[in-house]
């Protein structure tokens, strides 16, 4: 794909910010993103989701921008949040983890094997929610896994493959741990 020249210098942004616009006074925030010190540009009204996506971190998707679908889920200082509801400015100094650093191979394998992915739009958020649920004290069963994932909408799969994958990974990890293997 070719692109024409960018005479007015708007090329840096993929959607959100324009340094010349008084409505969007740009701030720079620093945070730890997937283990890397990262600077993000943001504006007063912008969500963490927009700041991430404007910075080219498109692993995190968003389907509703009102905290209902869970597809934009990320971990902020250890808590799973809908990044569309969190102003980017308050994440200054936070540790943010997305699917990029949270996904572990066993979960990736299980999701694929159980047919848990069709269009894939919800999947990064599913991974974030699943990894949070997998760290719990009690073993996951069908019921608790479904409750843990109730904040993540999937329109394609009917959830069964997702739930089966998560329950199976939970069992594998607990077995591995009780055998003395390093988690």
């Amino acid at each position: 794909m070719t692109s024409p020249d960018d005479p007015d210098g708007a090329a840096a942004s993929t959607s959100g910010t324009d340094p010349g616009d008084p409505f969007t006074s740009v701030s720079e925030i620093g945070l730890t993103l997937d283990g890397m010190p990262t600077m993000l540009h943001t504006t007063p009204g912008s969500s963490l989701l927009r700041a991430l996506r404007d910075a080219g971190c498109t692993e995190t998707t968003g389907a509703c921008e009102q905290g209902e679908c869970g597809s934009c889920s990320v971990e902020i200082d250890g808590r799973v949040e809908c990044s569309c509801l969190v102003p980017a400015l308050i994440c200054s100094g936070s540790t943010v983890r997305t699917v990029r650093s949270l996904l572990r191979d066993d979960l990736a394998t299980a999701l694929a094997e159980h047919g848990a992915v069709q269009c894939g739009f919800c999947t990064p958020g599913i991974v974030v929610a699943a990894e949070a649920a997998l760290g719990g004290e009690k073993p996951l069963d069908e019921l608790t896994a479904r409750e843990a994932l109730a904040g993540n909408l999937c329109r394609c799969t009917g959830y069964q493959g997702i739930i089966d994958a998560i329950v199976s990974v939970d069992a594998q990890r607990r077995t591995a741990t009780s055998d003395g293997a390093v988690r």
Partner: protein
């Protein structure tokens, strides 16, 4: 159509790779987040667009004032009707929708203008500055009122998008005579306006091309049909409009129509810059056509022993103001209004009306879902009247191989395993019943109301419902249908080129699987879909695996034969001694890798184009039905399905919880069983949504719940396990005997849940989604 009724199961051959749950190549990048969706695409210097939409369901546009918007920060251009170079309309069957409101707005959300700015936020803010003076008119929102002779026109084309009458087996010469039988039941049934609610909102990028044309990177169900419409409106040659398929966040019928494509193309051409837009959820709900609300009046007559004698059905679909796919959706509703039953006398009348409600169009099941709810609900009324088990009543009346289809009279081929579907679905073990005292009480999360802990369990009653579904796959009704694919063999393996749209269903994987199976297990890659590839038709109507799968199989077979011929010539052996194997090619007993073979033989093996084959597969011919009776060979063949639902209802609260859905689905031959199961699970979940939650509520033409807060999709905590059985009776006309797998799961799951709720409550449940008000008071 095949006339042979031999049991084709006897002739099934094992084909390497077919029937295996192979891994999908698109899945790993979707899991790790590296997959690129259409709204992830960006190029330097791109501008952003925002759509100005009508706030009124019906209003005359008096004046459009873009002056304030033009001077807003960051605004580059405001595209209006004045920028549209032709008077052509969009609409992929009937071109009747203007690019922007032209004189009169006909639904809330209809595009008025398209603001282009340097950032998305600037575009959105400037869109609010576009001033429109409207003369507000009284909207026409009741489809029955719209069909009245004296109703004002919603659209210059009149208020009837399509009317269809199907008549068969009239008992006398009077088509208006009252049909009678020993037992007659009557019902009036309604279905809601379901949104496809794909998770990835509409998003695309348009780039101006040096030849005056435009390239669109987008997510669609049909590249070439989009191309045709865009070119017509822009006054360009089709080859000047290039479409590149990007990652898609679901579709389910909701991406068959044009939404942002033309606006973006106009913006790119008028600014000379790339332009992108991404809809917000609230406007996505307004922008794409959705499932038609239906009102269906039924009469069903039978002998006392339960033998069906006649069915009469009068169907009215709310099409909204523009045609979209209302015509074929109405055809589907009418042709499946009698279900999969042997009924000697059939009278069906269907009308799709224009209104000022949201535009209706394609959604999974395409009219057959609504008709299924109507006919299956009426069959249950008859079962109750006769005191016959609903499953047994269906067993006595289902069609089978060699019968005539009830609404069209078309002869049914050998793949119609209705009895097997009924018996295998009914045989799936029932879930434990806590009220029977044989198991622990249910966890509170599993009661109606779920994790809200609404029900205390004392008012919970359990019901079981059963329903059968039927629909054609492929287009039917005489629409010419074909698909083109190209296969090229290279030193690395085979490459498939096809314009078939990957909508999440896994067609890329399936085409690779079919090519590989045809080429002895050769590794296969599938090129990105673009309009440069031959026409493949839409990813809809449960057709793409059949149509493009057949085209790929033909092209792969031809390319493989050329490779064998070329190797035989180059090495001086007989073609019989050359065989394709997963590692490469076996030549006279010796296996050579493809790369080695190409290296060794050099140009001798690949004269120009030698190892490329392009094939066009044409579907078996269908015909438009007889103009007065609708009779004829209107379909290629049919998909059948059985659903059994177990539902708990708190009869004090009017809340429902689906405990189990069991299903047996007629799949012909499952190419990738894991993915077929995926289609079944997803379709049933959408069926649960239509049964219990999903209705885009249009009040006086104004949608009041266009958000995920107010439009409730089933969550993981709302849906039960699904137990699915695949019934494989190959269709002799199809590649590998396969049948479409996308739609059947959505056909009768809704009707089976409504039947279960009726059994649990004794209520009539005349509409879906079922409201608490329908169950209490």
């Amino acid at each position: 159509m095949s006339d042979t009724l031999t049991d084709v199961r006897q002739h099934r051959r094992a084909i390497a790779g077919i029937g295996e749950s192979v891994a999908r190549p698109d899945v790993p990048p979707k899991i790790d987040g590296s997959f690129e969706f259409s709204n992830d695409v960006s190029v330097p210097g791109m501008l952003f667009g925002a759509t100005v939409r009508s706030p009124h369901p019906r209003a005359r546009l008096i004046e459009l004032d873009i002056a304030s918007a033009l001077t807003a920060t960051g605004v580059v251009r405001v595209i209006t009707l004045d920028d549209v170079p032709t008077t052509a309309r969009t609409g992929h069957i009937t071109a009747d929708e203007p690019v922007f409101v032209d004189g009169e707005a006909r639904y809330v959300g209809e595009p008025v203008a398209f603001v282009v700015a340097r950032t998305q936020e600037q575009a959105w803010r400037a869109a609010d500055l576009v001033r429109v003076a409207w003369e507000v008119l009284e909207p026409i929102v009741d489809p029955a009122a719209a069909l009245a002779a004296d109703a004002p026109f919603v659209h210059p084309a009149g208020n009837v998008i399509r009317e269809l009458v199907l008549r068969r087996g009239e008992p006398d010469d009077d088509p208006n005579s009252t049909l009678e039988a020993e037992v007659v039941v009557e019902g009036v049934w309604e279905t809601g306006r379901q949104d496809q609610a794909f998770l990835g909102p509409e998003s695309a990028l348009a780039l101006p091309d040096v030849d005056g044309g435009v390239t669109l990177v987008l997510a669609t169900q049909d590249l070439h049909t989009d191309q045709h419409q865009i070119a017509a409106v822009l006054g360009l040659e089709e080859q000047q409009v290039r479409l590149v398929m990007s990652g898609i966040g679901g579709a389910f019928g909701g991406r068959e129509d044009i939404t942002c494509q033309v606006h973006l193309a106009l913006a790119a051409l008028n600014t000379g810059r790339p332009v992108k837009t991404t809809y917000r959820r609230g406007e996505s709900f307004l922008a794409h056509p959705k499932r038609h609300p239906a009102r269906m009046r039924y009469r069903l007559g039978a002998d006392r022993d339960g033998t069906f004698r006649f069915v009469e059905a009068d169907l009215v679909l709310d099409g909204g103001p523009y045609a979209s796919t209302s015509g074929p959706v109405l055809g589907s509703a009418c042709y499946f209004a009698a279900g999969p039953y042997r009924i000697p006398t059939v009278r069906v009348r269907g009308r799709a009306a224009r209104t000022n409600n949201p535009v209706s169009g394609a959604m999974r099941g395409f009219g057959a879902v609504q008709a299924c709810f109507g006919v299956e609900s009426t069959v249950d009324l008859l079962a109750a009247e006769l005191g016959i088990c609903p499953i047994e009543l269906r067993r006595r009346n289902v069609i089978g191989p060699g019968d005539e289809f009830p609404t069209s009279g078309q002869r049914i081929g050998p793949s119609a395993p209705l009895l097997e579907l009924i018996d295998r679905c009914a045989a799936i073990p029932m879930p434990d019943d806590p009220s029977a005292g044989d198991t622990e009480p249910l966890h509170p999360y599993l009661l109606p109301g779920g994790t809200g802990l609404t029900s205390d369990g004392t008012g919970v009653r359990r019901g079981v419902g059963f329903a059968l579904g039927v629909k054609n796959h492929l287009y039917g009704e005489g629409v010419p249908e074909w698909s083109v694919a190209t296969v090229t063999i290279t030193p690395q393996g085979a490459m498939v080129r096809s314009a078939a749209a990957e909508v999440g269903q896994g067609i890329i994987s399936t085409l690779a699987q079919i090519a590989s199976a045809t080429l002895g297990g050769m590794p296969v890659t599938v090129e990105p879909a673009t309009t440069e590839a031959g026409y493949a038709g839409s990813s809809s109507a449960s057709r793409q695996t059949w149509m493009s799968g057949a085209a790929v199989r033909q092209a792969a077979a031809e390319a493989g034969a050329r490779l064998i011929g070329s190797v035989a010539r180059s090495t001086g052996v007989s073609p019989d001694e050359v065989r394709l194997v997963p590692e490469g090619v076996e030549v006279a007993g010796e296996i050579k890798g493809l790369a080695e073979l190409f290296r060794g033989l050099g140009d001798a093996i690949t004269p120009t184009g030698e190892l490329t084959a392009t094939s066009e597969y044409r579907a078996p011919t269908t015909h438009r039905g007889d103009p007065t009776s609708g009779q004829g060979d209107v379909h290629v063949s049919w998909m059948f399905v059985a659903h059994r639902a177990v539902v708990d209802v708190d009869v004090d609260l009017g809340l429902c919880r689906v405990v189990q859905v069991a299903t047996a689905q007629d799949v012909g031959r499952a190419i990738n069983p894991r993915e077929v199961h995926g289609q079944i699970l997803g379709g049933i979940t959408q069926g649960i949504g239509l049964a219990l939650n999903e209705h885009l509520d249009s009040r006086a033409g104004r949608v009041v719940n266009n958000s995920f807060t107010d439009y409730l999709l089933p969550t993981a905590a709302d849906v039960p396990r699904v137990d699915a059985v695949l019934v494989e009776v190959p269709d002799p006309d199809a590649p590998f005997g396969l049948k479409g797998a996308g739609e059947p799961s959505a056909l009768s799951s809704t009707a089976s849940i409504a039947a279960a709720v009726r059994e649990a409550t004794g209520r009539s449940v005349p509409r879906v989604p079922i409201r608490p008000d329908d169950l209490v008071g």
